[in-house]
């Protein structure tokens, strides 16, 4: 691996704006707590190009789900509020849109699938009913045409005998089938962007493998961009082109997926990789990250990972660390230039 030099002037993604599907700029989200507001997403910026899959990886409380919910404008307000930033999709700032305008984009041009498909579906209506509704919300077609389309979609996501399954209620579907149905619903209006928030976390590994395969396939067929939220570096390695790593509300590193795994720039990324059981052979001791994630209500402006960092030196805990561009990558670490971190084995 060659030594990276800082290139302050060259933004790697200096592609024209019209080539960018989604651009999140300086997004900060806060939630009301007992004493004032707590910032759970802090100054997050990233962008997505056409047909690209960007992964956001982080542990619980890292702010990855809140980030994706903000893009859909699904943050409950109050207690939540978007304190700062822009979310530019197809040339317009989603945060400036009225609720009505946003509703036209949601489910049509941007779709989302969730970790628990059962809670996202209404138990009182059939799968077919809900798919037809989803389609007819955005497309002026007849019920019959919509039903036809719904059956096609179920077939597309690999649900056998789709016409009969349209008449089933959500509880008659297994977890894997439900997630397929959710994906069918998300694809209904041929979206430009699909946000997948931990779509396989609640599933068994063999079913997870099926769903990941499906997502990869439909992304290609529909030519959409995908924002893939996960806590699992294995899943990220499987499906993503680029990755952003979040820790305690901040993006600490973003990079091409191969480069990130080959040589992480941020010690937290390295720590996550080393902590994976697959990293360690046989019956050797696993390598945990010591300590626990900080309490967001009391984090300071300096490096939030410093207390758990094995590379921390005097000074790490004192200064504000900006997100810095290094070639085509970004990293939030004072020592990024001096560290040779360990990549995936």
């Amino acid at each position: 691996m060659s030594r990276h030099t800082i290139a302050n002037d060259t933004r790697a993604n200096d592609t024209a704006d019209d080539e960018i599907v989604l651009s999140v700029r300086n997004l900060s989200v806060e939630f009301a707590t007992g004493n004032g507001y707590t910032r759970v997403v802090d100054d997050v910026s990233f962008s997505l190009r056409p047909r690209e899959t960007m992964g956001i990886v982080g542990e619980s409380g890292s702010g990855k789900s809140v980030t994706s919910m903000s893009i859909m404008r699904l943050i409950p307000t109050p207690p939540g509020r978007i304190a700062n930033g822009e979310i530019v999709f197809a040339g317009q700032d989603l945060l400036q849109l009225s609720e009505l305008e946003m509703r036209r984009i949601r489910g049509d041009r941007i779709s989302m699938i969730f970790q628990e498909p059962l809670t996202a579906l209404n138990p009182a209506y059939t799968i077919g009913n809900q798919l037809v509704e989803a389609i007819r919300t955005h497309r002026e077609i007849t019920r019959k045409q919509a039903t036809e389309r719904a059956a096609e979609l179920l077939d597309l996501v690999g649900i056998p005998s789709p016409r009969q399954r349209l008449l089933d209620y959500p509880h008659q579907f297994s977890g894997g089938m439900l997630q397929r149905a959710m994906i069918a619903g998300a694809l209904a209006c041929d979206p430009e962007l699909l946000i997948a928030d931990e779509p396989t976390t609640a599933l068994d590994v063999t079913i997870q493998a099926q769903i990941l395969e499906l997502l990869r396939r439909v992304q290609e067929e529909f030519g959409m961009s995908m924002l893939f939220i996960s806590h699992d570096l294995g899943v990220i390695a499987d499906v993503c082109d680029r990755v952003g790593v979040m820790y305690a509300g901040q993006l600490v590193e973003s990079s091409d997926v191969f480069e990130l795994f080959a040589r992480p720039f941020h010690p937290y990324t390295e720590g996550l990789l080393r902590a994976m059981p697959q990293h360690t052979a046989g019956s050797e001791e696993l390598v945990p990250i010591p300590g626990t994630t900080p309490d967001l209500a009391s984090v300071e402006a300096q490096c939030r990972f410093e207390p758990r960092c094995r590379h921390a030196v005097a000074g790490c805990g004192e200064t504000v660390v900006p997100l810095e561009t290094v070639g085509a990558r970004e990293v939030r670490c004072l020592r990024a230039h001096h560290l040779e971190l360990e990549g995936a084995s």
Binding site: E59, S60, P160, S174, G176, M177, D204, V205, T206, I207, Q208, A209, Q210, L212, E213, H231, D232, L233, G234, V235, I236, A237, D238, C240, V257, F258, F261, A262, G271, L272, L273, A275, M276, P277, Q278, H279, T280, G282, S283, E284, E285, L286, V287, P288, I289, P290, T292, T293, A344, S345
Partner: protein, 349 residues
């Protein structure tokens, strides 16, 4: 099956649990969920047996049956020479001090209204009648053993993170110095970085005390790290049991091979080069498991015999596997399924 020796702590044979499904006005039994269907395995002293399977495999039920938290439909559980299922109320209570459990969800496994001292002290007051300062003294020792601090003694569960709660649960389970610890998905609810902390803690405790672990998990890559041997379950049965490294690197059963291939490797280069086995369809219902080999409906190597005759666990390598591939068809004869040439892979029906 290994013969019980003096080295054997737990011997389970023919363990079966069928849950009745009731319905209708009279609450009659309409059907039976065959959650666990005839398990045989042993756990040696100081050993960790990993129990792996997906949801519906019966692995969690197995853990509860071993501890007699639910009564089996049939079978025997012999713990240190004593038939646990024949014990009366009092003797069973005494026996409980020797076999303990930790649970998946560290949030619901601690009483929100009880302090750490009350929770960890519960086994001490129930079995040793300890109270007050004496009890708290022991609790402090346990807290320190699991990496918490004495000043945590009078705090409530909501003040702790998931990983810390799981440490509290481990301390509670260790209070009576049991011989067997059943761990039911103990790290599944935890973040990766914390997962490794808890696993290392369990292993260091095992090194110090020689405790045996029955480690239940859906995650084969985690299980590999803690287990000496692994049993793989599918729909209430053990399909393969054997040496941990062997299961991980040279599986003898197609289902084990599938499970392994499904775990994504955190390295895009290797992950995208791997050959993946995508299982067909969904797992069958344990209400009505398939005839013959229960895996035959989804198995890429399924042969005619598989639908008819149920395979039995037979020795294969350093372990046993219940699969017809070893005697019929390609005749693996105990070798790993990874050796099967693609030509041997019959076209899926």
């Amino acid at each position: 099956m290994t013969e019980p020796t003096s080295d054997t702590l737990l011997e389970v044979s023919g363990l079966t649990k069928h849950f009745p499904v009731r319905g209708g006005v009279l609450q009659r039994t309409k059907a039976r969920v065959r959650a666990v269907d005839g398990l045989d395995f042993t756990v040696r002293r100081g050993e960790t047996l990993g129990l792996v399977g997906e949801s519906g495999s019966g692995k969690s039920t197995t853990g509860r049956l071993v501890l007699r938290l639910i009564e089996p439909t049939a079978g025997r559980v012999v713990f240190d020479g004593v038939d646990v299922l024949k014990l009366g109320r009092g003797a069973m209570r005494d026996m409980r001090s020797r076999m303990q459990m930790i649970f998946q969800d560290p949030y619901s496994s601690l009483d929100p209204q009880a302090t750490v001292a009350d929770s960890i002290g519960e086994p001490l007051s129930v079995h040793e009648g300890l109270r007050g300062a004496k009890r708290d003294g022991r609790v402090v020792e346990l807290l320190e053993r699991v990496g918490l601090k004495p000043q945590h003694l009078h705090r409530y569960p909501y003040e702790f993170s998931g990983g810390q709660r799981q440490r509290i649960c481990i301390a509670r389970a260790l209070a009576l110095k049991p011989d067997l610890l059943v761990c039911d998905e103990p790290v599944s609810a935890l973040d990766v970085s914390i997962q490794a902390q808890v696993i290392n803690l369990l292993k260091s405790i095992q090194r110090d005390t020689g405790i045996s672990l029955l480690f239940i998990s859906h995650d084969l890559s985690v299980v590999r790290h803690v287990s000496d041997r692994i049993a793989v379950m599918y729909l209430g049965r053990i399909v393969e049991i054997g040496d941990s490294e062997q299961i991980y690197t040279q599986p003898r059963h197609p289902y084990t091979e599938t499970l392994l291939s499904a775990i994504p490797v955190p390295n895009p280069v290797t992950q995208r080069r791997r050959e993946r086995i995508l299982l067909r369809g969904e797992p069958p219902s344990p209400l009505d498991p398939p005839s013959g080999c229960r895996f035959h409906t989804r198995c890429q190597y399924a042969m005619d015999v598989c639908a008819v005759e149920e395979p039995v666990l037979a020795p294969a390598g350093r372990g046993s596997s219940a699969c017809h591939l070893h005697d019929y068809g390609p005749g693996l004869g105990g070798g790993t399924v990874l050796d099967l040439e693609p030509t041997h892979r019959p076209v899926p029906a």
